[in-house]
Amino acid sequence: MTLSYTAEHEELRGSVRRLLAEQAGSAQLRQLIDSPEPYDASLWKTMAQELGLHGMAIPEEYSGSGYGFLEQAVVMEEMGRAVHRSPYFSTVILAATALQLADQEDARARWLPGIASGETVGTVALAEADGDWTAPRVATRARAGDGGYRLHGTKHFVTDGAAADLIIVLADSDDGELLLAVDAQDPGVTVADVPVLDQTRPLATITFDGAAGTVLTAGARTREVLAGLLDTALAALAAEQVGGAGRALEMAVEYAKIREQFGAAIGSFQAIKFKAADMLLQLEAARSAALYAARAVAEDAADRTVAAAVAKAVCSEGYFAIAAESIQIHGGIGFTWEHDAHLYFKRAKASELLFGNAGVHRERLARQLGWTA
């Protein structure tokens, strides 16, 4: 069995990289961070409509192009490389996947075309005050009433919550756990953007006070869909982490080649070399794990849950270690606000913690593999 991206994937990568380099470079990213806008709406449209990035994994009947997850992994990797700030992960990975995994034709028809065209921003609200995405204790309630369910409760750490038009919510009800689609415009929805460590990925706290929810899944299907969604989210984050780690290493190596100290390029010092070699080892491990997981998710392979958990564990630790060492190699300049190293460092820690860190996923693996006493 062999494992690689195809030439077509590499072509896609090239287009995304060029676009982001042009329109979402460091200067633009910093401007965006300082602005009240959650994302660059014009770039978002270009990505959706000219490159067709949003509809890639959406079936053609919903105005998508019917490719699969491998293509999305390429995009996520490039977005990671650029520490890109946009609700792509929330919308295209989380919300669109949840809609596709759930069985509600109406909901798909209502939301997927807008996601594909870039008109609709979506997100999924899983975690609550305890900040657990992988096995959330759900206090948010959906109460059945006239014309459907009404939601009450608060969701925390919702990625791109403030930008979302569509919020898919995990809630408990008398009928068990449900996934529900909620229109962000509903007067029963209050979204509060929160200040974040990693300013390249906004988070929000969303309070529901009687907002109407359309049921997407109920009963045992809810946990099944959540499991599938989690695999996809983890594999996507892993790809993103590989992209960021790759760039962080590149920056460190470039710097080590030109920066001189004690009369020689610091890259000629053993300590820097060994550090860089270890960083490459971690990057290549992350790359292998992420690619394997992407294929497993794309093919809905039997080992997709294991592969996704491994990928998130390996890529989380790898990215953080690489981003941290990259700062160390850069020395003083590396911890200034002005230098980009901290953007990678903060993204690395934030994406490590998002959807569970390595320890969380190793424990999930142990359970998945039946390691009980």
């Binding site: 920066r259 001189e260 004690f262 911890f335 200034t336």
Partner: protein, 403 residues
């Protein structure tokens, strides 16, 4: 009262009483550095009143720069006395009133290498707070390699004229004086042509720009120095004698730091355990392991501090082992920052409300600790010093690496 005349126990009792009389509730829970950074010279601080009262009391009791010689306004405290003072203050959570880099770095160099005239002129003004110093050692492009300083100092009559750039200068925007290294003899070997000069910061051709760090604060500055002037009498250690004076500066934070640094980490760890309890994370075996690891590290710092005090008490000196201390605490704190972030999980991602890039204490520890392994000699430089000067391994062969 000087050192010889007072036993440690008498001193402890004196200090206890003094603290009881002069405790400022507004300052309790702050550490020395925070007070120096945030309140000293900042009348807008709501704690400024408390600061002024505490400053006055400290000056009257001789507890500002107490480790300096009595003839220049200190109290001749040794490391043991300093440790007593630190312990008693820590017991009630009060900071010590310090004079920042003037006290810790420049003063000791003046004491070691200055003329009597220089000591009399500069030291009392540091104690009184009239002069506030920043350190101009690092330069863009020189990093940890002090010997390659390229700021130029040209003698012009009885003055020295300085031109160049400095960076990683902590709190330069608050200082009125900078002690800096400049190259006064470009033809001399690397270490020989350097001078240590005290330069006024105001109206002297020095432009300060703040360096914002990844933690969102302005802990560091960068200075463009364009023909700044200082009297030749401000050169400490003589023209070309700057390297030696600078080494004193770098070596002057030893015993007392080693003996007392664990105190702030103990407090911090207690706080982190409370935070873990609040988040109901204390039953996670990994969290328990991480916190217990941190506890072990802090305990070891305490024990090491006691060993250092024992060495000093028996007349020993702390040499290049100081590099061990720097490495230990900076690497510990880096790891603690990570533990704090990991332990809090999603909660670590959310900053406090407020303007700018405001961070909580754990985010600050997580972010600022990255700088700690870099400034004042990177971890890499410390390791080399330890290997060569403590373990006696041979110096590197390569051209420039010979120091």
């Amino acid at each position: 009262m000087n050192r010889a005349a007072q036993s440690l126990e008498e001193l402890r009792s004196e200090i206890k009483q003094w603290i009881a009389r002069n405790l400022q509730p507004d300052l309790v829970g702050m550490d020395d550095m925070d007070v120096e950074r945030e309140i000293w010279g900042n009348p807008d601080s709501p704690k400024h009143e408390a600061f002024l009262a505490y400053e006055k009391a400290s000056l009257e009791a001789g507890l500002v720069c107490p480790h300096w010689p009595a003839e220049y306004g200190g109290r001749d405290f040794g490391d043991l006395e300093m440790a007593v003072l630190a312990e008693e203050l820590a017991a009630v959570g009060m900071p010590r009133l310090t004079r920042g880099m003037g006290e810790r770095l420049c003063g000791p160099s003046i004491i070691a290498h200055g003329t009597e005239e220089q000591k009399a002129r500069f030291l009392p003004r540091i104690i009184s707070g009239e002069d506030r110093y920043c350190q101009g050692f690092s330069e863009p492009g020189a990093g940890s390699d002090l010997a390659s300083v390229s700021t130029r100092g040209v003698v012009d009559g009885d003055e020295i004229v300085i031109t160049g750039e400095k960076i990683w200068t902590s709190r330069a925007h608050l200082a009125n004086m900078m002690f800096l290294l400049c190259r006064t003899d470009p033809d001399a070997p690397k270490h020989k042509g350097i001078s240590f000069v005290i330069v006024p910061m105001r109206d002297n051709g020095i432009t300060i720009s703040e360096v914002i760090t990844m933690a969102g604060d302005n802990a560091f500055c960068q200075e463009f120095i364009d023909g700044a002037r200082a009297p030749l009498a401000n050169v400490i250690g003589g023209l070309g004698g700057g390297w030696k004076a600078a080494m004193t500066t770098l070596g002057s934070e030893r015993g007392a730091v080693a003996a007392t640094q664990h105190l702030q980490y103990e407090q911090e760890l207690d706080e982190l355990v409370r935070r873990a309890r609040e988040l109901q994370r204390l039953d996670d075996p990994q969290v328990r392991q991480d916190l217990a690891w941190a506890f072990c590290q802090v305990h070891v710092m305490k024990a090491t501090g006691q060993r250092v005090l024992a060495k000093l008490a028996s007349g020993g000196e702390v040499g290049p082992e100081a590099s061990l201390t720097k490495l230990v605490w900076s690497e510990y704190h880096r790891r603690l920052g990570e533990i704090a972030a990991d332990l809090q999980g999603a909660h670590a991602l959310v900053r406090p409300e407020g303007d700018g890039y405001k961070v909580d204490r754990w985010q600050k520890a997580f972010l600022a600790s990255r700088a700690e392994t870099i400034f004042a000699g990177t971890s890499e430089v410390q390791r080399r010093i330890i290997a060569e000067r403590v373990l006696g391994l041979p110096r590197e062969q390569s051209a420039g690496a010979a120091k």
